[in-house]
């Protein structure tokens, strides 16, 4: 779990993710894709690769990603909710 922040966080449930890539299409500024298909957060902080910080401008796209993920592997956590 990441440290508290004032931004929404896109939480990736790796036990469900199968690297289908819909989220990487909807959030190209936030996520890259590794060779097996799984999302790689575009950040230098390795502690933010499972709880990706979402800037306000990308909140709608992140909501779409959560809705469309075929494996229901994404959740949007409100700011400062990470304990």
């Amino acid at each position: 779990m990441a440290t508290p922040t004032n931004r929404y966080q896109l939480h990736i449930d790796w036990t469900k993710c199968d690297g289908r890539g819909l989220c990487t299409e909807l959030l190209p500024g936030l996520l890259d894709r590794d060779k097996w298909g799984f999302p790689v957060a575009k950040t230098d902080d390795v502690n933010r690769r499972s709880d990706v910080q979402v800037p306000g401008s990308l909140l709608d796209a992140a909501t779409d990603a959560v809705e469309l993920c075929p494996l229901i592997a994404l959740r949007l956590l409100p700011p400062a909710s990470a304990s």
Binding site: K16, R20, K35, E67, L68, P70, I72
Partner: protein, 184 residues
């Protein structure tokens, strides 16, 4: 009036079948994780879903208009319990089975976040049963079921779905399969 209902019932049935066929093909494509030129994966997923919902709307017209038609004698119970119908009970019963399966598939899809991925996936697999049953129902039950053009459509669509299913079962189906050593 009843002639119009009858005609509308037939047409909406055919439209629903065509849309379901397209939805099944797009569903298999979406499962592969592959995009199409100009169509990203999330678009394919959305179109698959929207076409399925549109098919459902046409199914409501199909069933509804036939209930209002005196010749078909379709009753509410015929939507839920198959093979009780007055007109061609067996072929109509197949329609009942198909629509019941579709209701389960649609509802679990709309509420999948709440029901969980496992239940959604298990029910969704019933699509592979629902579609052929719907096709056979329309051949046996439909007025034009054995007409030349409808047979032609049936052959083409069955061929397409069969090809898609064979592709589905192949080892290279998943877009990322070649990078992953392990079968998941």
């Amino acid at each position: 009036m009843t002639d119009a209902m009858w005609a509308f019932g037939r047409v909406s049935g055919i439209v629903a079948l065509v849309l379901l066929t397209i939805s099944v093909l797009l569903g298999i494509l979406t499962r592969s994780g592959r995009p199409l030129p100009g169509l990203p994966r999330f678009s394919i997923s959305l179109i698959h879903r929207n076409i399925a919902l549109l098919a459902s709307v046409f199914l409501v017209f199909h069933v509804g208009s036939l209930m209002l038609d005196s010749y078909a004698k379709l009753k509410v119970v015929d939507i839920l319990i198959p093979f009780l119908g007055a007109y061609k009970p067996f072929w109509q019963g197949l329609g009942t089975v198909a629509v019941d399966l579709l209701i389960a598939i649609i509802i679990t899809s709309l509420f999948r976040k709440r029901l969980g991925a496992r239940l959604f996936k298990a029910i969704h697999w019933l699509t592979y049963a629902m579609w052929p049953i719907a096709l056979v129902h329309s051949i046996g039950n439909g007025t034009n079921g054995l007409s030349g053009w409808f047979i032609a459509f049936s052959v083409v669509s069955a061929g397409a779905v069969l090809a898609a299913v064979i592709w589905r079962a192949s080892s290279r189906f998943i877009e990322t399969a070649h990078t992953r050593g392990v079968v998941r």
